[in-house]
Amino acid sequence: MKTITGLMAAMLALGVSASTALADGATAAQLPDPPKFDAQGKVTFVGVGDILTYAALPAYNEPEFVKALEKAGKLPALKDRLPKEPMVYKTGNMKDGIGVYGDVMRHVIGGRPEGWNYWAGQSQGWGGIDIGLSECLTRTGPLFQVKAEELQPLPNLAKGWDWSADGHQLTMHLIEGAKWSDGEPFSADDVMFYWEKNVLDTNVHPLNGANPGTFGEGTTLEKVDANTVKWTFKNAFPTQVLYAMAYGTFCPGPAHILAPQHPANSKNTYDQFKNAFPPSYMDMPTMGAWVVVDHKPDNIVVLRRNPYYWKVDEKGNQLPYLNEMQYRLSTWADRDVQAVAGTGDFSNLEQAENYVESLKKSADPAAPARLEFGQRTIGYALEFNYSANGWGDTDDRSVAVHNLNRDLHFRKAVTSMLDRQRLGESLVKGPFTAIYPGGIYPGTSFYDKASTVYYPYSVDAAKAELAAAGLKDSDGDGVVNFPKDVNGGKNVEITVLGNADYQSDKSLVEGVIAMGEKAGLKVIPKLLSGKDHDAARDAGKFDWQVLRQGSEVITAVQDTGHLAPIGPNTTYFHQAGTDGKVDVMDFEQKLVDTVNKFIGAKDAKDRIELMKEYQKIATENVYTAGLTVYPGALIINKRFANVAPGAPIFMYNWAEDNIIRERVFVPADKQSKNELFPDTLPGKPGSAPGEGLLK
């Protein structure tokens, strides 16, 4: 009897102990609001109509030197160069109002132009060159300032669009009478050439990966007339494709230049087509504000104003205000240094470690550059490799850890062990960083605090959750062990992949390791650089990874597929195994369903509700363990005006697009003498570098 009583008492004690452990496990709490700080620019939210319209104005204006060229008969009259109804930027949305002509913006980049055939996959060296050269059907960069209720891509080459009643057809009205930078007319033929001979032709691979699937499987496009095209979709109202029609997947090229080189119309091979416009080919026609007129390999790329640009201000001044763009070909790290020193004009400062020093420097009245902090759109999460079916490492330890990752108790233990306040401070002290529990970033359009489940820092809760996951320190060495029948009951050792190229990534990895040790997990760093890091990530060779996240958690409407494993390799941490299928868990399936509904939702309200649902499922189940979010800072020379306050360095697009460079200007008294080709305009396509200029 005594034995039975004792056994019962022991069982009761065990039961109490277990329930106590669970009761002490991770409990959701109120998420603290991100700290405010003065250096963060305040965005003035507006409607699309407050930014731009399309209208014929009574008179137009242009720089004096262009007038002189026009007078000399070297250029058609301005009214003949502009479209019937140019795009007009509203003065009310321009921080410093109507601008003046002149000066240059000097960029520094780490890339090199491969050539100018963007549409066949050639990079122009990035850093905003291609953004400046590419005008697309729609535009997303400036959306950071658009009110949530009006949120949809801005019109651009497509000045408007209508949905059919059943939502399967979308008719787009292109800007009428606009011209390429060489004076040739822009029309629906350019759009159709891009669609038929670049997107649909499987032998051609446009730079940012546009393919028929980008616009929905089974989608077709047809020309209605010279200024109208019509899309037909399998699904009704796939409004999200409007985002895919912006940079960088639907920016048509000059068909009159490209088509003769395409294998369909010539004896060229596809490779010859791709390389038909090498880096030495100047004055490649563009619809963008500037045209490439000179390229010195490994030294500089120079762009001059496009005399046929189709955008104006409300006073009829043809844009851009800046006559020239320069791109010094250096290194990416050099970009920040040169912008701070004043030899460069523009940089996206992303490494939080440099914020305080850069702010101090910019506070000096004599400093050439200022810092403009945007919203907190740089964020990191700890991502779990969920694959238990052969993607990535398949040794016993890795498989055991991947299976642990699939256990909610384990994930709750991980999220509870993270002291996010300290993690943020390890990058930069001060009010820059904010606690990020996971899911959509706080402060962005689709974020909903009420739907966000936050498990606060608690080592005790983490230990309790580890116990609930069946992990105990059976050998007393301070590290929990697998159950005896899993991986031989060895210590739980977890590799965490991080990018060794960035100090922020390394600091966060080190923080995760230290915090894991306190909770009883042995976390081993796997810090790799550049391509090695990406190769390991893409092959799934990690247990956890500290990753800087992308557009999907900022805008939700871009790269939406990254939010859940809706395809075999849409996410970075859970991909298809050897059988070609993703072994999704129940909560992941809910995420997949929600994301798919979101993609197909027409109504803005429905989309907001769906993203709330996504946020709840993702954060409640610790889909990823968020770490920290912080703002990037735009370093821009103080002489520039019309830079919208709070412009993020990256949101819907990079800052080079966000600030709408064509309407940025330098007041007359601050203009520099840095133009390399003053009083000149681009020449004929195919000119030699620096030699075809119109002057």
């Binding site: 691979h205 990966g209 550049g530 390991a536 849409t570 970075y572 390399l676």
Partner: protein, 332 residues
């Protein structure tokens, strides 16, 4: 002498061949390739979807034969090496010979300037320090030498660039010339602009070079000054200065001459450290860049060139030694 030269050049050929094999194998031993870099750029810069980026990477591998067996890739490169163009750089999208032709002369110019200044100043300081052993001058020079040797060049470069960019506001950073001057023909103005851009790199390199040369010269000279023939020269009534300069210094230079065979490599390594930090388009920066992004043919070619420089350095050092010391006979 000619026979010796011919022998050394012939002997270098198999060394270079083995070096190409080893270099090529080592470069390919790390995971990832340039296609991964392509995918990364598409994701980061063009915010392409993961699927699109992976597809583009795979296409790149097919187009450029990166999926071929390593041995086939090696022989493809060797064919290019033997024809003198070294293949095409994925990143620069130009023949590697053009990249070399553009970057090698200024790199060598920098390296040689640093080397010559470092040697002349270092040897001179070494002589002064040895001749004034244990004086305050010796202590000061030795302290500077100690700093130069113990401070990593990249750290010195980082501190210098921080001061120049963040504190002083220097405008000449990150290239050989300002944009304006890069368009002008050579003139005093352009030369001055060049000096304004490269002096920090030369300073870092020279400080390091001075230290090595000074310490070596000081040690050698002190050893030589204790030799019997120096005592004899002094006993014959030769002045101390004349004894040092005419008898001791030439003999103390032998180890320095032998050091020339290795110094070129150190100089280029130093150039890599400082040029990367200052963002100057040199060979060193191209090596680091190409290794980071998997532009393997550029890395392999540049390593080959560095090996060649090392071998040439060895030959020059031997010739120098023979010229300095009549006891040394080449090829006999």
């Amino acid at each position: 002498m000619l026979r010796y030269l011919a022998y050394r050049i012939l002997a270098a050929i198999p060394v270079l061949f083995v070096m190409t094999l080893i270099t090529f194998a080592i470069i390919h031993s790390t995971p990832g390739d340039y296609a991964d870099y392509v995918a990364q750029q598409l994701r980061v810069q063009g915010h392409a979807t993961n699927e699109a980026a992976l597809a583009a990477a795979q296409q790149f591998r097919i187009d450029h034969g990166l999926n071929d067996p390593l041995i086939i890739q090696y022989f493809r490169w060797m064919k290019d090496v033997l024809t003198g163009n070294f293949g095409t750089s994925y990143f620069f999208n130009r023949p590697i010979s053009e990249v070399l032709a553009q970057r090698l002369p200024p790199s060598l110019g920098l390296v040689i300037t640093v080397h010559v200044l470092g040697t002349i100043i270092g040897v001179s300081l070494g002589i002064i320090a040895a001749a004034r052993q244990y004086s305050w001058i010796d202590t000061l020079i030795s302290f500077v030498g100690f700093l130069g040797i113990t401070t990593p060049k990249f750290l010195f470069a980082l501190v210098l660039i921080y001061i120049l960019a963040f504190k002083v506001g220097v405008q000449e950073l990150g290239s050989f010339y300002s944009s304006y001057w890069s368009y002008q023909p050579m003139s005093f103005g352009k030369l001055w602009n060049l000096i304004l851009h490269v002096w920090p790199i030369i300073l870092v390199g020279v400080l390091n070079g001075i230290s090595y040369n000074m310490r070596m010269m000081r040690g050698n000279l002190l050893d030589t000054l204790n030799a019997q023939y120096v005592e004899t020269a002094r006993a014959k009534g030769l002045s101390y200065g004349a004894t040092v300069l005419k008898h001791a210094v030439p003999n103390a230079l032998h180890p320095l001459a032998a050091y020339q065979s290795a110094v070129m490599r150190y100089m280029i390594e130093g150039e890599i450290e400082t040029s990367v930090i200052f963002g100057i388009p040199t060979i060193g920066v191209a090596i680091v860049l190409s290794m980071g992004i998997g532009d393997v043919l550029v890395t392999a070619t540049l390593m080959l060139i560095l090996g060649l420089v090392q071998i040439v350095g060895g030959i020059v050092s031997d010739l120098l030694l023979a010229w300095l010391d009549p006891r040394v006979r080449l090829g006999e």
